[in-house]
Symmetry: C2
Subunit: 215 residues, 2 copies
Amino acid sequence: MQPSPSKTDQAGLKNSRVRQKNIQIILQAAEDEFVASGFKGASIRDIAHRAGLPKANVHYYFNSKVELYGAVLNHIMELWQSVFSGLNPDDDPATALRQFIRAKMKYVLAHSNASRIFSSEILHGGQHIKDHLQPFNDWIQEKSGVIRGWIEQGKMKPVDPIHLLFTIWATTQYYVDYGPQVASVLGKEELESEDVEAYTESICQMILGGCGINS
Amino acid sequence: MQPSPSKTDQAGLKNSRVRQKNIQIILQAAEDEFVASGFKGASIRDIAHRAGLPKANVHYYFNSKVELYGAVLNHIMELWQSVFSGLNPDDDPATALRQFIRAKMKYVLAHSNASRIFSSEILHGGQHIKDHLQPFNDWIQEKSGVIRGWIEQGKMKPVDPIHLLFTIWATTQYYVDYGPQVASVLGKEELESEDVEAYTESICQMILGGCGINS
DNA sequence: GTCTATACTTGGATAGAC
DNA sequence: GTCTATCCAAGTATAGAC
């Protein structure tokens, strides 16, 4: 239920701007809180605190915790969809896969909170996201077809296309989701851009090697 | 703080048996609850309900939620440590890596709850587990040395050993943690043993291929 | 050792003043 | 559109009867 527009155009515009700004602040705060505590563990109180707003203000923009979580997940799913257009039939497999791995890696690093919330949601049963997963499944089916085509044309070794996509997804996701552990193993406080570069290159080497298309 | 033993040997033994049994039941219920809701989202009330015990009974055995969670994490870490003795200097890399991937896969499937709680804990910052990660880091360092040795002996292509171990860890973990999504993509309700076998074989093929030691 | 009753805190959500 | 005050449910933890 949205609040009714203000009475004057001027006020309407101003309120609209305030509204957009507040919604963005709340969504950002909610992301941080959901990352830290998971859906059930997150509290509106802490989200409001992170946003620097009173609790009731959060409820004013989002009627319930589920609705707010849904908005965060929606935002995340939109981000995913906007990213992956790579892997097309006429591409060279080695180039296309390498570019795709780099794009996915760049994406999860740029949106690490989104990436973690997505993982957490799936990990805890995916009840709030299962209705949004269809575009994903469609995307995987489509790209599997492309990879299958490459294999039939003898451009790469026969590898199960879906498992290949899972492997790329898993290895890139892992770097962000398990970031603290990875850093701990490398003996660092935080991961740096050289680490990212080295890891990305290793993944490319292994996956392309596994497909028999190592440059 | 443990309750004092009972006054008689007979009662002591009986209570001890009851005690062990109840602790096991509670730990099992706690695992299920932590998987479903994460640490902060889990409630003692629901854990007690899953265990078929009154709330206060859980508090009798575990003074606080943090202590109970710690016990669950301890149990999980002990399980990890007991598993991975593979990857030794004199092994054939292809055989050893293949066996290791299979062992890890078998392990996460047999202990999927443990696997998910571990992932969830790392994902949400790892505050409760960071003191337990040292044996892990040591293990990775040790096995990295073994892999480095294989590379120096020309037994496999030069691949960053730590990244190789991460890749194996990530791909096997993924299959369990993202189980529902994987199943959804494959158009199934639940994953079956053939799916596991096929996925494991694909991972082996890709990773061994990436190391230039495909059989 | 077990469990009911309860103290105290936090969380989600709303009413209503401004 | 904003925010204080408040309701009520759920949460952790404990006291104390049995």
